[in-house]
Symmetry: C2
Subunit: 244 residues, 2 copies
Amino acid sequence: MAFPSDRTPHGALGRQPLYAQVRERIVAAIESGEWDAGEALPSEFELADRFGVSQGTVRKGLDALVAEGVLRRRQGLGTFVAAVDDDWGRALPFGARQPIEATVELLSCSRVNGGEAAEALELRPGAPLISVVRLVRVLNEPFAVIESAVSLERFEGLDARRIRQADCNLRAVWWREFGLRVQSRSPVFRAVRAAREEARILGVSLDAPLLEVSAIAEAMGGGPVEWSVSRCRTDQYAYSVDGG
Amino acid sequence: MAFPSDRTPHGALGRQPLYAQVRERIVAAIESGEWDAGEALPSEFELADRFGVSQGTVRKGLDALVAEGVLRRRQGLGTFVAAVDDDWGRALPFGARQPIEATVELLSCSRVNGGEAAEALELRPGAPLISVVRLVRVLNEPFAVIESAVSLERFEGLDARRIRQADCNLRAVWWREFGLRVQSRSPVFRAVRAAREEARILGVSLDAPLLEVSAIAEAMGGGPVEWSVSRCRTDQYAYSVDGG
DNA sequence: TAGTGGTCTAGACCACTTG
DNA sequence: AAGTGGTCTAGACCACTAC
């Protein structure tokens, strides 16, 4: 079903190229829940008809979303909405190139008043945040502690139950419960000494070197949404990014 | 109307799409030195004529190289060969997003017989390599030590003089002297304790935590060429990737 | 066989930069 | 005004996957 406004792309939407407008409309449709993860989109020609453009233009819009990891295509089959990846990178055995599967566990979900995180999220200093702390295990051994923070106002109603329901995949929660597809920007790395609390949780000695990975994730429409910092022990596995 | 096979030799090498062949031929021309860094390529229509394809097909080939950072386009001006970036990431002041300029200095260039590096480069165990050690300074303070290794056989004639002539930018040497455009794959990260030698060079205490970044760089035609491992102190600046 | 993504063309027009 | 990249179309055909 095509809304009348679907066929007037040259109008008031700010003169972006048509393929960019197509991309935005598809993102909006995904965020609105029109197609779920794993579900097929209409064919390129159907989308072209719906948006009033040619197949090549639809295709260029889809290309961008495939490159961003939001969509996957299989020739002869269709175009599908990708599952939301968990964000925190991958654990690589030394020398290997294939990451090892990891499990994630929720340690805490609490309200805090943000300092550094609030600034990174472009909120006022001391704005109320929700802080989520998770533990990543590889082969049942502790690998990383991830602290994530989001605006309390924007994610009202977030609690431990909802996070566990989504297998502790925060990106999945943002999408299913709050209608936001979120993606990380380039992370930033440091090497630090383990503090007491981290050392205890990760099972390393005090002052052991830990890899610190800080990242800010943005909604696809723009604007920072999620601040996170991971601390990883890298004595057994190395850390690689590879994921949005 | 010309069939693709009329003008393009895609019978033997496994039928790649025309735009991929265009990409390869442009890479080959760049590596052969037909256009230098900063120089403009012929217009899209001229290239289309030269390769016997349409402008849209040339454009799609150029798109790929622009995405890889090999080319830059400016509307109304032309398409230009990008300068080769140095590889080892960027030093970021905490909280900032703009990296700080760094200077690179050559510490040594010597022949070694490779262990881990030879394996990563898909050479036989113990194959002769050239090892290049460089020091990166930020605001004149030591920031990172980079050890790189390449096949001695492939890069015969490499010496300290040639490296210094290129301002210690190894990628520039690979291109100008050996005709190879080289790009990094995803790096891998660890946190380690500083060994004696590194601690001395970087000016940190023994056992201080250092960020270790390992990467393998490949030629654009495929195949690993350069193995490298950096050790960075991250007490003053954080480390970000951002570059191919 | 029918429907999907994947490629390619020829031509048109727009937006930008330089003389 | 001329030349460049940037966008868009309509239609064609190919390659793959299902039924």
